[in-house]
Every structure is written in C-alpha cells, then in structure tokens.
Symmetry: C2
Subunit: 218 residues, 2 copies
C-alpha cells in the first residue's frame, strides 16, 4: 500500500460520519456524487480517496453503504476501543472529555491528570483527577495508547516526553506551540490561536466585499 495523504484520512473521517447517518436512515447504496454533496467536496475527490484502499465501488451503481462504512471504520482503526488519557484538567480537557465524538467513536477516557493539587481528586465522569506522577504506571496498567495534551505551552514538551516514556503512542496536542515528537510517538496539534488569527488575517485583507475561505469545507 502506497503512502496515503494526510488530507485523505481527514476526509475519510468525515465521510464515515455521513455514512453512519445515511445508514441509520436505511440507505443501502451511495454514489460518490451523493457522498461528495454531503461532505462538501467533489465526486472525483471521493473516488480518489476511496480508491487508495482498493476498489469497493460498483460501477453503474455506487458503493454498498454498509460495506463501505465497515471498510472505513476498519481503515481508520475504529473497530477497536482506544484508551485515552487526558493531561491537563482545565477547560479544554473538560470539553474534550465530554465531547460526543469522543466516546461515540470508541475513544474511552481512562485517566485525567493535572499538577494542580486543588484539582487532584475531583471526579470527571467515572475517573478521578490524578497527579501526573501517576502517569507512567497508569499508562502501562491501563494500556492507554492516546493522550490528549491540554497543558500550558511552557510544560507541554516536558509532558510530551513523560508521556512518550510512559509508552503513549499518539498525542493530540492543544498547547499553542510546535512540539518535537519523541521517536515512535505521533503528535497531532490543534492550535486555536492560529485558526483565530487566520480569520483575523482574512478579515483584514478581504474587507469591503466578500470572499471565501476553507478548511473542512467552504
């Protein structure tokens, strides 16, 4: 299998969401055109994305919806439950912990950590906030593969390294700085400051009359 683009993967995740919805309402088949309309892209894009993983469409008809749905879940690795630890028990951590897209897709929060003694011990759903000193042991014991890093920028790199040593394999970072990924750890960052400033730039440079913008769809 040749290298699959990052952007294709992001779209697969989106396609899956719509396949779930269409499947729920009983649709059995869907064309690249129809799926593209839902996901806000083009039919060619949908076909290219899917064809990277084989050809499971039916010419003249479209894609078998339940089959495609199953295949995407498999491709995205959503068939198995992923255990997640949240590091940083602030508002962002809280928002993610209760985000429906989290639990719905098999991501289970098994631990929450924060260095603030005032927060340690408080309940977050079914888990209690712990000290980060517990991380190393917990990650191993609970077999957590994913960590959400929602700590201040100044301690993010240190925490990332701690997580890496503990055995975490993938990290979703919300600290607004670039992190150097330790060997063997996949780091994905979400930087809200950047998003906001991209909007500010667009406002400053497109002002009097309209213009469009993207990321996800237009």
């Amino acid at each position: 299998m040749k290298a699959v683009g990052e952007s294709s993967i992001r779209r697969l995740s989106l396609y899956l969401r719509f396949l779930d919805a269409e499947d729920a309402r009983g649709r059995r088949t869907i064309s690249s055109e129809a799926l593209a309309a839902l996901a806000g892209t083009t039919s060619a894009q949908v076909r290219k994305d899917l064809s990277q993983f084989g050809s499971f469409g039916i010419r003249g008809t479209g894609y078998d919806l339940p089959a495609l749905r199953g295949r995407l879940r498999e491709i995205l690795g959503l068939e198995r439950e992923r255990r997640v630890v949240i590091v940083g028990a602030g508002k962002i951590g809280a928002a993610l912990a209760q985000y429906p897209g989290f639990g719905d897709r098999g991501f289970r929060v098994v631990g929450v950590y924060d260095a603030d003694p005032a927060k340690i011990g408080s309940r977050w759903g079914s888990v209690r906030v712990q000290s980060p000193t517990k991380l190393a042991a917990d990650v191993k014991r609970l077999d957590a593969q994913i960590a959400v890093l929602a700590v201040p920028a100044g301690v993010a790199q240190t925490m990332l390294e701690l997580l890496a040593r503990a055995g975490v394999r993938a990290v979703l970072n919300f600290a607004p700085i670039p992190l150097a990924a330790p060997r063997g750890v996949i780091v994905q960052s979400v930087n809200m400051a950047q998003e906001l400033e991209a909007l500010s730039y667009a406002l400053a440079h497109a002002p009097p009359t309209p213009v469009r913008r993207r990321r996800g769809r237009d």
Copy 2:
C-alpha cells in the same frame, strides 16, 4: 499583492508568538534560521513566508525583531481589537472564552448565546448568556465581526445563517460537519473528531515500530 497561501498565514501566527517571546527577553535581531528553529520549520520556509509581504530583512544580519513583530501584527490584522460573540455556551465555548491566546491577542468576547433556558442569564466573565434571539440586534450594536460557533452539528448551519444575516463576517466553527458559507462570510472549521481519527488511523497503520506525523510540526 498576489495570493498568499493559507499555510503561510498559519505560520506567521506562530512566528509572531516566538517574536513576542524573544522581544520580551530583549533580543533585537533574529535570523530566518533562528526563527525557523523556534517555530519548527526551515529557514527557507521562513524567508519565503516573509518575502511574500516585502523584503524587510537585512542581508548578513537577519530581521529587525521589533520591526518584524510589528509588521506581522499588522499583516495578521491584530492591531485593532476584534469583538467576538460565542454561540453555544457549552464546554467548548467556555474553553475558548477563557483561552489566554484569545484575550491576549485582542479578541474580546462581547456576547455569549445559548438556546438552553437553563443557561440563559448565567455569568461568563463580564457578560451574561443570552438567548440567540438577541443575536441580530447585538451583533450590530456591539459591532462583532467574529463568531465562535460551538453548537451541536444539527443546528450549526442554521445558526451560521443567522449569524451571517446579523452581519458577522468570520466564523470559527467547532461543529463536526462541513458548513456552507453564506456569501461574504469566512468560515474556518476545527474538527476534533477528524484529528482524533487521524491519530487512530496512524496508530492502526504504523504500529509495530515508529513513524512520524505532522500538523503544526513534527
């Protein structure tokens, strides 16, 4: 001025963060190499990004730090305060409202709206949660240009249209679906489900031994 790439803008925002920090510690000049190291990119990339807006570097020396900083603030439209309304008073809205990168960069929250009667009237910093029926009048009165859309997927498009009619010019969307941007409105989306599933994909496909990943930096 020729079209500037989306990705350049995102990096400018990052560069500015580090320029702020270096300026604070008294540095007066910085080379593309040094800035690249901080921002996790290459010197060529830094120079390409900056050269799109003119040539304000000094050959043999680097860039005048305060000057560059001022120029970036100007380019990103951060010299003027931006008034922001938050639609959806859930956890995500709350996380953003208290996010330091928000206030620090001149984004001021002037209103919070939620359809849930139980939330209406509660205090969020200096503002009270209002009904979305107040949006149209408030956006005009407060001259809000940016909205943060943190509502459930099902009502996001409707709210976006309401915001557009109210006169909002830019929207940062957290609902996990693509939105059709009304004419004259810039929509930027952050989809955490996609980020998470991209990690899941990477875990499923890079497992036994290491591999890297990106977005913001590796």
